[in-house]
Structures are given as C-alpha cells and as structure tokens.
Amino acid sequence: MRLVKHRLFWPLAALITLVVVNVIANPNFAKITMRDGDLYGNPITILRESTPLMLVALGMTLVIATRGIDLSVGAIMAVSGAVSLTIIDGVSDPNSVPAVLIALVVGVLVALVLGAWNGFLVSVLGIQPIIATLVLMLAGRGAALLITDGKITTVNSEPLAFLANGYLILLPFAFFLWVVAVVVVALIERRTALGMLTEAVGINPEASRLAGVRSRGIVWSAYIASGVLAGIAGLIYAANIKAADANAAGYLIELYAILAVVLGGTSLMGGKFSIAGTVIGVLTVTTLDKTLQFFGVAPAQAPVFFAAVVIVVVLVQSPRVHRWGRSLRVRGRAPAPAPQAAEQADRQKEAVR
C-alpha cells in the first residue's frame, strides 16, 4: 500500500507495462547485442534518442514548477542548432575539436540569452507565461531560418557527430550527457534550497512573498535553465541529423515535453516537481513512440495516440474526475456545485477583504 502511494508508482508502472507489452508482442524488443565493444539494441536506442526530449523536459519541469510554461523550447532548439552549425560550416576545418567546441558554446550561450528574455517577460514584466513564450516560439524559428539562410545547413564534422552517435564505455555519449544533465539539475535543485523555494513559489506565491522569498529571481532562473537545456538539446538534434533544419528541429517538442512532465507526476498547476518522474515520463514517451513504430504506425500518425494519452492524463488529474472517484468511494451526497472549490474561492474572497 505504501508502495502504491509513492508518487512515482503510477508513472513507473505505466512505463513497465509498456515495456512488458512490447516484450510479449515481440521478444526482440528488449534484445541488446554487443558489437565492437559497444552495446546496441532497442533499449539502447531509446536511451540515446531520448536525449533532446530529456533535456527539454528537464527545463520544462522547472518552469512548470513555478506555475509557468515554456512554449519556445522548440524554437530555441532551432536557433542553437542553426548558430552552432553555421559557425562550424564557416570554419576551415569542421573536424577541429576546439572550433567545434567554441561553436557549441556559442550556440548554448545564445540559448541562454533567449531563456533570459523569456524570464524577463514573465518575472519582470509580469506577462502570462504562455503568451510571453509564444513570442519567441513565433519569432525564434524565423530567426533560425535567417541564420541558415532558409536552407538546411549540412555539416560533416566528426566531433559534432560524436555528440549524438558517439560511444563512451559501452553506451552512447548522448545517454551520458542526459544522465549528467539530470544529475547536475537534481544537485542544484536539491542540494541548494532552490528546489524548495521554487516549489514554494509555485504552490503559494502570496505566502512565499510574505515569507520573504525573492520569487523574481527564482522564476527567472527557471526560464534560463529551460533555455540552456533546450539549446543543448538543439545541438544534439543537429548533431544527429548532421544538419541544422530550422523547420524540423524541435517541432512539437514543447508538447511532448509537457506530456512527459505531466506523465512524471508533476502537476501543471505548479508546485511539487519530480525530476525522477520527468525521467520516467520521457522514457515512457520515447518508448511509446518506438512501440507505435514497432506496431507499424507511421510516425506521422503517432500524435493520435499521444492525444489519447494527454486526454487520459488530464482527465486523471481533473478535479471533477477526482470528485466522482470520491463520491463513488464515500457514497456520500453528490456535491452539487463543487463545495471544495467554492469553499476555497470563499476563503480567497475572505483574503481580499
């Protein structure tokens, strides 16, 4: 019972169920082989291909914890990829490691600036997060297209390709990258007080203000983190296709990232967040994607299934469904006009007085 109550129980159960269904349907699904001292196979591919979504979802988790949302992550991915690959394309030796490194750092810095811009609009100007990040979502992709001159910039660079396809001790480099990102973010959030203060601001901004929490900096930092992580994700994506494709990079990734975060048990209403939950959520999304491919669904048709998942998840979180669940259990009177919500509204009204 304790186990069932753990907040990661249901996300993990969903992931495991998904894997089990796959293995039963096709035993090859979980097969891992060893080639040239490296591991290959479907599970490894899932770990590797999860990287961009993992990074983006990680940032999105922090933003959602502050009661916000970042729609611009896909556009930021396009920009960082475009910036870095244009630089690499311009240098004499695209295989030079220092040159590639500088290009990558510049790409990430640009992403940082874009994240800071979002944070400024939200935390300083007080614009609704959806709207504030919509601006960059719209303009960012255009800017990326300008940087690449509207073309798909292809680059043959060994160090760059390594980012997405290289191997380090048995496993893909990209896998290690997201593990490191997850660990770093988890350490920053949980070893300092940032995580707790972020949750406090997300759950009850007014109580936090009265307790002296400086919410502006906290909210701002979440958008910066989201920007940086999206920037890195953009580089991985570009490295994987060896090209900067400003139209396709990060297309719809904001939606998948939100889905992954919600699947991981973090509420869209902000507050308590779970990084481990997001990791599980991302692996679930990627596995579901692979599963659909395995069952012969065209990638383009996959959104139908994701739509179904989104609807189920939001319904499970919906207060009304919770009430139904409660009234079924308690068999009490049907609470006609949402007494709880009404009572809460009441107390809020009382607060205004």
Binding site: I69, L125, G126, I127, Q128, I130, I131, A132, L134, V135, L136, M137, L138, A139, G140, R141, G142, A143, A144, L145, L146, D149, G150, A246, Y251, L255, I258, L268, A298, A300, Q301, A302, P303, V304, F305, F306, A307, A308, V310, I311, V314, L315, S318, P319, R320, V321
Partner: protein, 338 residues
C-alpha cells in the same frame, strides 16, 4: 433625488467629445493602432515599390489569406472568452485531407463538405468539453486537439491528395471587375467575418462571450449561461477550422496532411494584432480582419523585397510582443483605475 453624474459630452466642446470617446471606446484603440499600421505598411510599400497597392495585389491579399481569415474569426471568439485554441492549424489540415479523400473516393460533394465542417466542430466540441467540464486549461485541451487532428490527418492519408471536383474548382473561380477579382473562397471568408461580427455584436450569446471574458465569475453570478458559451466558442473555432480546411483545399486543389503547421501561431498573432486582448473580454472580429490583412501585407512586402520569408515571422513576432506589452500596460492601468 439628485443627479449624481453628468454626461461629459453634454458640456460640449472637442475635449469633452474626446473624453466621451475614450470612456466609451477605449477598447477599440488597439484596433485603430492596427489599422494605422496597415495603412503605414501599404503606403510605405506603395512608395517603395510603386506598384504595390494594385488591384491584383490587393485582391490576392484576400485570395491568399482567406483560410487565415476564417480561422481568425473562430479564434477571436475563443480568445475573447480568455481561452486559446492551438488546434486550428491541424484541424484545417485534417478536414482538408478528409474532404479530399472523400471526394476522390467518389463521395458526393454535398456530403463531403458537411463532413468537413462536422469533423472540425467535433474536435472543437472535444476541446470545449475538456475545458468546461473537466477544468483542463484551454492551452492543454487544445493541445490534445492539435495532436489528435494532426495525427488523424495522417491517418486519412500520409501524402497529399489532388482533387478534381467541379464544385471545388468553382470555389476558386475568379470573378473579375477591372483588375480586381474575388473568388467564392474569398466571399466565404468575408461572409464568415460578417456572420462572426453579427453574432458577437448582436446576439445575447455573443455578449455572453464578452461577459465571460471580462469576468467569468461575474457572468455566472449574473445568471448567464457560462458553461454552454464556453463549450460553444470552441465548437465555433472548430467549425471555422473545418471551413478553412475547405477553403484551403479548394485554393490549392489538394488536401495535404502537412498543411497549417504553425498556422495557429500566425492566427493568434493576427488576432492579437487586430486588437483582441489575450486576457479576454475585449476584441473585435473586424479587428481580426485587420490583423490578418497586416499579416498578409507583411508577407507580400517581404516577397516583393525578395527577402527571406522567415522575416515575416520575426516581424510578426516583434509586433505581437509590442501589442502584448501595450495590452499589459492597458490592463494594468484599468486595474489601477477601478
């Protein structure tokens, strides 16, 4: 009993008239700003290129953007209730490919076209029910709609379907007067604007849309039918998505499942530039017409300049930001005022 407040207009004078205007119509100002921007764009382009404001060019503005205009009308309803509908581009693609597929499979056009409209409206209904009955944020609910419609578009067909149908061909016939022309698709778009404006302005439903956007709680306490209205606006937006699918399919004489990717953002931008407040409660269908024309004009200017089309989104993004910041200031001022 004494009169407690006199009407400023009755004291006479230009200044008083201005005061009256501003107390009555402050919410129209953003739309006027959009009209001003449109005029500046047109005049500037005319000076720059000499032949910009030509009958052909102006007619093309309506012809090329008819689908956007229809979507913008539906989106205006949603945004005025302080909601948002991200699904419109995908719904347009889905209904477009659905119609194309039905027609090529020999389904008569008088069944295919209603099927497109119903398809769009059903997705809108799903979003509306999620928003109203299950308290799902409009953003998330319409996101589910976006996924669903986009996926369904590809379920219908993975590639584009060319159509040859007399009715669809007729929809893009050009009726010309001098250099000017208009197509049935353009007429449909303009009719949508007119019908939308009449519903918004002259029906109780339309006024409830504004009341909900002004304050949902007040609207409920005033005894208005809030729940029905909130569901209906998404149905209307979905219906407009279906209609836009029809118009775009006729325009390109093909259904294409990749149509309208990112169109929802263009539409939202056009609606906001047209003077509709994203926070809800203020906005005009006619303003959205202006917004779409601004969007289309920027597009045309950029292709005249031979510049990269991606500039359109950057400029529209910048305009969007400008309008949002100004709106934020207006809202902040009216909050202080009350």
């Amino acid at each position: 009993m004494t009169a407690v407040e006199t009407t400023p207009a009755r004291t006479g004078g230009a200044k008083a008239a201005l005061v009256t205007f501003s107390t009555r119509h402050a919410s129209v100002l953003p739309t006027f700003a959009a009209i001003a921007i449109l005029i500046v764009l047109l005049v500037g382009a005319q000076f720059q290129f000499g032949n910009f404001v030509s009958p052909g060019n102006m007619s093309a503005l309506l012809y090329d953007n008819a689908h956007l205009l229809i979507l913008a009308v539906g989106m205006t309803f949603v945004i005025v209730t302080a909601g948002i509908d991200l699904s419109v581009g995908s719904v347009m693609a889905f209904t477009g490919i659905l119609g194309a597929s039905l027609l090529t499979n020999g389904v008569p056009v008088w069944i295919a076209i209603p099927a497109m409209l119903v398809g769009g409206a059903l997705i809108g209904l799903l979003i509306g029910v999620l928003v109203q009955q299950f308290d799902v944020q409009p953003f998330i609910a319409s996101l589910a709609g976006l996924f669903l419609a986009r996926g369904l578009a590809f379920v219908v067909s993975l590639s584009s379907i060319r159509i040859e149908d007399p009715v669809m061909d007729w929809l893009r016939t050009r009726f010309s007067v001098g250099g000017w022309y208009i197509t049935p698709t353009g007429i449909i778009a303009l009719l949508t604007v007119v019908v939308g404006a009449v519903i918004m302005h002259r029906t109780r439903f339309g006024r409830t849309v504004y009341a909900v956007g002004g304050s949902e709680q007040s609207a409920r306490l005033m005894g208005l039918k809030v729940a029905r209205t909130k569901v209906m606006v998404y149905v209307i937006s979905g219906l407009c998505g279906g209609l836009a699918g029809l118009v775009l399919t006729a325009y390109s004489s093909a259904g294409y499942p990749r149509n309208g990717i990112g169109t929802e953002l263009d539409v939202i931008a056009a609606v906001v530039i047209g003077g509709t407040l994203l926070a809800g409660g203020r906005g005009y269908v006619l303003g959205s017409l202006v917004g779409v024309l601004v969007f289309g004009t920027i597009n045309t200017i950029i292709s005249f300049m031979g510049a990269d089309q991606s500039w359109t989104h950057i400029i529209v993004g910048a305009l969007l930001l400008l309008f949002i910041v100004v709106q934020r200031a207006i809202v902040a001022r009216s909050e202080r005022g009350s």
